[in-house]
């Protein structure tokens, strides 16, 4: 069970939230070609370790926000608002410490 700190309502169970996937890069120009569009639409970093991702507190305030989470330990390192720059997170995360397994 993830306990996600909604920046508006405080910490709640994951069942109250909807997942929005990785925070994508910026939308490409229309004339940059299929490869750039495929990369934007479909390709993902899918990191083993820290990921910047979107969550929506759908059964609470209904607001979207961003979370920095470790995909190995599921520890949430930071929460920041939609459209804000991601905070700097200490990268000495646990997934390195336990060999990434």
């Amino acid at each position: 069970m993830l306990r996600i700190p909604c920046p508006y309502c405080g910490e709640r169970d994951e069942a109250e939230f909807r997942y929005g996937g990785e925070v994508p890069g910026s939308i490409p120009q229309t004339d940059v070609g299929d490869q750039a569009w495929a990369d934007y639409l479909f390709a993902r970093d899918n990191p083993k370790g820290l990921v910047h991702e979107r969550w929506c507190h759908s059964h609470g305030c209904g607001q979207w926000f961003n979370v920095v989470r470790d995909t190995v330990t599921h520890r949430i390192h930071a929460v920041y608002g939609a459209g804000e720059a991601p905070p700097v997170v200490d990268c000495s995360n646990e997934s390195q410490a336990d060999g990434g397994r």
Binding site: L2, Y19, A38, N46, P47
Partner: protein, 414 residues
């Protein structure tokens, strides 16, 4: 390799089962190979086996960071079926089921295939219409599939509660579908590949690629550098991690898919029952345990454990369908990391790096594809061109837009 047979079994039994030779030999890494396959799961071992058997390439190493068959091959729920919707998927997965039907003989290793049928349920009139269309598509693809009425389902699965919270409106069955023993598939391919000269190296994690002028020349591992003319990635949930080491991104999201088994009970369920709408499926293993599963946890994860909320959701749905199971205790619960693609069709074939090949994106259904996956990837590696059966499964489909949106891939709704 000494063949397994009834006389051999009787002979060994009379001598107290002493002196059975090891099924396969664990090798130390050498300096170079013709082909390196990364990942000693079903797909990696099958690819190595067919490289040796069909293409005569025997100087092959299968590198495994953990132990043989210890990833998703040992964590899935053993379902084999070919009831897919689109013609490309149907042709590929039907080839796989046909290979499964002869696999025990092919490998001289009993994979315990039990074609007990896989029954998919519908819980509303509209869902039933969708299942009828799915059934027709399967039949047009030349694969067996039958619509069943609630009373026929009640006779086939007497324990099923047809008047559940979401009543059963009907369903369809692929009678050639079923289950097999997943460890046996890994061990059988390992043994057969090893007998043809393939080296299996465990505890050897690939940490990077040796790439020059856009062409792969080998890998770096936790046990030193190894040169190879060709490298094939078959690593289930860690496809993105290895692709990043080779310098390209893939359209894959890794998630935790959990499964669980109950305490063993007497035979009570002789088919696989699956409900897409309520997100649950169940079969009974030969040991008597009920093998239960459902959808994947709804967020990126590389932790090989599942979340409790989804476990509760799966079990609540299942107990509503099978009230008799409500008093059983769970013995084990676990998760595997599955790599899910946007269209739930695997990604197989060439990569942006020359001589580096990829078999990944198997999502929640790679087990059933092991024989055909190995056969087609071996062809692809040997000829440096995709096998016709997987020509449409390449990475380039995300640029061309020719996605194969296979909702039937997982069996349960995403």
């Amino acid at each position: 390799m000494r063949g397994y047979s009834f006389p051999a079994l009787v002979g060994r039994a009379l001598r107290g089962h002493r002196g059975w030779p090891k099924a396969w030999r664990s090798a130390e890494p050498e300096r170079s190979y013709d082909v390196i396959v990364i990942g000693a799961g079903g797909h990696g071992l099958a690819t190595a086996y067919y490289l040796a058997k069909n293409h005569g390439i025997t100087n092959v190493a299968v590198l495994e960071k953990g132990w043989l068959g210890g990833g998703n091959t040992g964590r899935n729920t053993q379902v084999t079926r070919s009831n897919y919707f689109w013609p490309q998927s149907a042709a590929f997965f039907e080839r796989s089921l046909k290979l499964y039907e002869n696999l025990s003989r092919e490998l001289n290793f009993n994979v315990m295939l039990s074609q007990r049928g896989i029954l998919t349920l519908a819980h509303s009139h509209h869902e039933m219409e969708a299942l009828r269309r799915w059934t027709n598509a399967i039949r047009i693809n030349g694969i067996d599939s039958e619509v069943m009425t609630p009373s026929e389902i009640g006779k086939l699965v007497p324990l099923l509660n047809l008047d559940a919270r979401f009543p059963v409106h009907g369903g369809f069955i692929q009678r050639r579908g079923g289950i097999s023993r997943h460890d046996a598939v890994a061990w059988g391919y390992a043994r057969a590949a090893n007998a043809l000269g393939v080296s299996i190296v465990q505890q050897c994690e690939v940490t990077g690629f040796d790439i020059a002028d856009g062409r792969v020349a080998g890998v770096t591992t936790s046990r030193g550098s190894i040169a190879a003319e060709k490298v094939c990635i078959c690593v289930a949930g860690h496809t993105s991690v290895l692709a990043a080491k080779a310098g390209f991104r893939v359209p894959i999201t890794s998630m935790a898919l959990q499964a669980m088994v109950s305490e063993p009970i007497k035979p009570c369920l002789d088919t696989v029952v699956l409900s897409p709408a309520i997100h649950a499926y169940v079969s009974q293993s030969d040991r008597g345990e009920l093998v239960l599963g459902g959808g994947a946890d709804g967020y990126n994860s590389y932790a090989q454990r599942g979340g409790i909320p989804l476990l509760e959701e799966n079990l609540a749905a299942l107990i509503e369908l099978f009230p008799a199971f409500s008093r059983l205790r769970l013995m084990r619960q676990w998760a595997g990391i599955v790599d899910i693609t946007p269209d739930t069709t695997p990604i197989m074939g060439l990569t942006p790096v020359k001589n580096l090949y990829l078999s990944g994106g198997w999502g929640t259904g790679g087990y059933k594809a092991i024989p055909a996956g190995g056969e087609t990837m071996a062809h692809t590696v040997a000829h440096d061109a995709p096998h016709p059966l997987i020509a449409d499964f390449g990475l380039d489909r995300f640029e061309s837009g020719a996605l194969i949106d296979e909702g039937a891939a997982s069996g349960v709704a995403h």
